[in-house]
Point group: C2
Chain length 203, copies 2
Amino acid sequence: MSTDRAPLSRDRVVEAALAVIDRQGIQGCSMRAVAGELGVEAMSLYHHVPGGKAEMLDGVVAVVQTEFVEGLHLTGDWRVDMDAFARAYRAALKSHPNVVAMIAARPSVAYRSSTTLVGALFTAMEDGGFPRDDALRAVRVLSRWTIGFTLGEASALEDGEQAAEFDEPLLVEVFSDIARGEDDVFEFGLEALLDGLEARLSA
Amino acid sequence: MSTDRAPLSRDRVVEAALAVIDRQGIQGCSMRAVAGELGVEAMSLYHHVPGGKAEMLDGVVAVVQTEFVEGLHLTGDWRVDMDAFARAYRAALKSHPNVVAMIAARPSVAYRSSTTLVGALFTAMEDGGFPRDDALRAVRVLSRWTIGFTLGEASALEDGEQAAEFDEPLLVEVFSDIARGEDDVFEFGLEALLDGLEARLSA
DNA sequence: ACCTGAACACCGTTCAAGT
DNA sequence: ACCTGAACACCGTTCAAGT
């Protein structure tokens, strides 16, 4: 809707796409809608995003991922850093809930925007005493788990209004828990996972 | 492609949709394609799936979920059952990789098809000595984690052919690991999580 | 009762044409 | 160089019409 007449650019296209997605969801993010956001016709976008819609959405994933990576500062202590990574990632994803499914579907783009961070985490694990293979596995598990958990939460919040209709008492309980927010569940799982990893060190 | 002239039904429509998705992915699963699979016109589907495409896809999720639930038999020992749940769920999802993203996006449908199983797991945890709240949290964490891990793997396998193009050595390593299969990573994470849960029992 | 043809309002994308 | 109008081959869905 912004009728800014700044010249179009790849960054402005991607930024507009993110704005549309945050507001209307992925469904609402058509090329025509993004163009409208920029006060332009759909066909103009292709000059700045030659790969079309796929490249535009890859750009959105990279922006969200970079936003998160730049806000995180590590200490070198594996447990502190793994904990901080998971919490900060979750927080970043929760501020763009409609993008989480896209990130889950584009792991190569997500990885590309965070190799430095992942590498640092990974050497913190090695410095902490984990064998190289286990360090790699642990980081991958934590990152997958964080994305998966947050995606499940975002999806459940979106289709959770039906919770009232649920006949099963357990279903009603779980979905009203979800509606109240799942920070405690996330932290419960995170702590269990990190405890389990730490136990490996002594073994 | 099957030109069977058995009468159409909701189940046949959903089954055809699953077949199309397994073969062509979600992108290829248009109403016209599903109709073609049944030798029928697109508009005929709406008589058996009045809710349209959304209801059809909900049906696909329910079928995959039910397939899994019916194949799993629990023992009552929390650790054995949590382990079996995660492994069997992962195996079921891996046999329909194109459906995993849909399951992740439709937690209410997935839950609905498995309340009995989740309830049983949950009482096994309580019988094992976990407080009610922790039992609920643990089951939710495990289920989310399993879906999230397998979704990440399925997605990475799909866009992983680009791995050769990666410039970053760490990226190349991770993506060639993924291409070799991630059973060991999954099991590593699963064991750590269950170890972490077990540690809570003694505390 | 069950199926369908034609139509509507959308998509992503191409390409030749405008400035 | 950058933007666009018209067009193409697709979508999901509605509805009145066929059998």
